[in-house]
C-alpha cells in the first residue's frame, strides 16, 4: 500500500515508531527472538533516520535482513532474506560483551522502578507459581549492551478473577532476569563491574519513559494522544517520576506507516497486544 492512501496510524504502529526513535544511526542494534515490535522498529529505523545502523536479527543473526514477511517464530529463514551473511550466536554475545553492541530491546513480565526485568518466574523461582519462558540472552546482554530500550505491550494492569490488580510495573520483582540500574541489594551497575549503560528508554502502550538521572527511577516523558498521567499512575504499582514537561509522542508519517505495513503483512506484531489496544487509532 502506498503512503498517499494512509490516513491513520494504529497504536501498535505509533508504538513501533517510538521504539524506532530510540535507535541512533551508526550503532549495532539487536532485538531478542519473539519480538516483532522491536524487529519492526529496527527495520523502520534502518530505512529512515538510521541508515547506517547494523541490524542483527533476533535469532538467525542475519545482518541487515529484508524479510518478505514477519513469521510468528524467529529462527525462520524468512528472517535471513536479504542479508549478505549471518553471524554466529557466540559472535552476537561476544560483540555485546566487548562493548560493541550499541542498543538492544528487552521486555519483561515484571518491571521494577530501576528497570530490572523478570521473564523467569512469578513466585518462588525454585517452585514458581508461574514459570515464565526465560530470559534467553537477556541476562548477559543487560549487563553488556551500551544502551537498552525496554518495551512492553502490557503496561495496563488487568484485574484477575480474585479482583486483584495484576501489575507489570511492580514494587517488588520476584526474580531479576536482566539487570537495570540498581541491583536487588542496591548496588550500581558500575560497582558490579558491568560495562553497559543500562536502560535509557521505556516504551509502553501507555507512554514513553526514561530514568531519573539521579535516582534512576522510571520517569514519564511522553503520553499518547489518548492516554493520561492518571492512566500511568493507575497502572504502575510503584510511584514513577513525572517529568516537569510531559509531551505527546510524535506520530509517524504516512511513509513510516506504509513501511510498517509492508514489513508485516501477517500483522504478526498485533499478537503482542490486547484487543482493547488494537482498536486505538490516530489520524495523521
Amino acid at each position: 500500500m502506498n503512503a498517499e492512501q494512509i490516513t491513520y496510524a494504529t497504536l501498535t504502529e505509533v508504538m513501533i515508531y517510538q521504539a524506532a526513535r530510540t535507535i541512533q544511526d551508526g550503532e549495532l542494534v539487536f532485538h531478542g527472538y519473539g519480538s516483532p515490535v522491536p524487529t519492526l522498529a529496527m527495520l523502520l529505523a534502518k530505512r529512515t533516520h538510521a541508515s547506517h545502523m547494523v541490524h542483527v536479527e533476533g535469532a538467525t543473526y542475519g545482518i541487515n535482513p529484508d524479510p518478505p514477511f514477519l513469521p510468528p517464530t524467529s529462527n525462520d529463514w524468512s528472517l535471513e532474506q536479504g542479508s549478505v551473511m549471518a553471524i554466529g550466536i557466540s559472535d552476537l554475545f561476544d560483540i555485546a560483551a566487548r562493548g560493541d553492541m550499541g542498543r538492544m530491546f528487552l521486555s519483561g513480565v515484571q518491571v521494577d522502578r530501576h528497570g530490572n526485568l523478570n521473564v523467569t518466574a512469578i513466585g518462588d523461582p525454585d517452585i514458581p507459581r508461574v514459570k515464565l519462558p526465560g530470559s534467553g540472552g537477556g541476562c548477559n546482554l543487560s549487563g553488556d549492551v551500551q544502551h537498552i530500550t525496554i518495551w512492553t505491550t502490557g503496561h495496563r494492569a488487568l484485574t484477575n478473577k480474585a479482583g486483584k490488580r495484576q501489575f507489570r510495573f511492580v514494587k517488588h520483582i520476584d526474580f531479576i532476569s536482566s539487570i537495570g540500574h540498581v541491583s536487588r541489594d542496591g548496588i550500581s551497575r558500575q560497582a558490579l563491574g558491568l560495562r553497559g549503560g543500562g536502560p535509557d528508554w521505556v516504551v509502553t502502550e501507555l507512554g514513553v519513559f526514561d530514568f531519573d538521572p539521579v535516582t534512576h527511577v522510571l520517569r514519564l516523558r511522553a503520553l499518547y494522544p489518548d492516554t493520561s498521567v492518571q492512566d500511568v499512575l493507575d497502572n504502575t504499582e510503584f510511584e514513577p517520576v513525572i517529568a516537569s514537561e510531559v509531551s505527546i509522542v510524535p506520530l509517524p508519517t504516512p511513509e513510516h506507516v506504509a513501511l510498517i505495513r509492508r514489513f508485516d503483512p501477517l500483522r504478526t506484531h498485533q499478537r503482542e497486544f490486547k484487543s482493547t489496544d488494537l482498536s486505538r487509532c490516530f489520524d495523521l
Binding site: 529462527n75 548477559n140 531479576i176 558490579l192
Partner: protein, 315 residues
Amino acid sequence: MAVFTSENKRMSLAEAASIVQDGMTIAIGGGLSWREPMALLRELVRQGRRNLHAVGTAHGVDVDLLCSAGVIDIIEESYVGFEQDFGMAPNFRRACESGRVQVHDTCCHTIIQQLRAAEYGVPFLPVRSVQGTDFLRLHPEYKTMTCPFTDLPLVLVPALAPDVAIIHVQYGDAQGNLKILPPLVADLFFIRASKHVIASVEKIVSTDELRSMEPNVPYFWVESVVEAPYGAHPTSCYPFYAYDRSHLTSYYHAAQAGPDTFRNEYLAQYVFGPASHGEYLSLIGGSAKLQKLESWKDGDDAWRALFTAPEGAIA
C-alpha cells in the same frame, strides 16, 4: 569428548537413542522452532528414558515434549516457549510449577562460556555479566572472584561437558562428516563440548558429494548418523521444509487442555502410536502434508501462506 573413527556410523533411531542413558546430561540441537532433533527425542520418550538433565539455549516443542513424558529432571535452558505464536509452553510450565523438574534456567552467553570451557579443556571461563541478576541464586556452582588484572568482580562459570549432544542436520555421510546449514544455533558448541554426538540427518550423501558442500563437522566428533528425512518435524529444517504450524497448533491445544488430554490425544497418537518414523510421517499427513511444508520454495506468497491459517492461540 573422544575420537570416533569407525567408517560406518549409520544406525537406526532406536540404536542411536540408546546411547543416551538414564541420568545423563543432554544438549539438544537447533532452537525455537528450527532443526530440533524431534525424531530422536520421540524415540527417547518411547524408550522411557528418565532423569535426564537438559542444557541449551532457546527451545520450544522439543523440551516441552520431553517434559510431558517425564523424561527430564533438570532443565538448564535459556528459554522454553512458543514465542508470539502460542506463548508459554504448557507441559514445561506444569513440570516446573509442580516441582517435578528442577528449574536451573540459564542464559545464552553463560552456557556458551561453560561449553567453551569444556571445549578448551579448562575448568572455567570468566564472565562479566550475570552479576546483579538472580541467576547467581539459581546456580551455586558459579563462583565469583576479584579479577587479578582489573581488580573488578568477575563470575567464573564451570566447564560444562554434556554426556550426549543430540542434533538433527541437513546432510551427512556414513562416516559422520556433517554439513549443518545456518542458523547453527549452539550445535557446534554442543558437538565440541559433549562426550558423545548422535546426529540424525535429512539425507546421507557420499563423502565426495559432502566434500563439495564444505562440511562443517569432521567425522571423528560424531558417534552415530541416522538418516531420518523430516526428522525435525514439526520444527523446520530448511532448505527442505518449513515448520508445521497446523500440527503445532493441535500440539499446543492438546497441551493446554491438560496432561491427560495431551497424553491421550498427542503422546498416544504421535509418539507411542507409530511403529516407525515412516509411520509417523503418514500419521501427520503423509506426502500431501510434506509437499505443503516444502512449498515455501514456490515463492514468498506460498511461503507466507504457511504462516497464516490456522491461527495460533495466544497463551
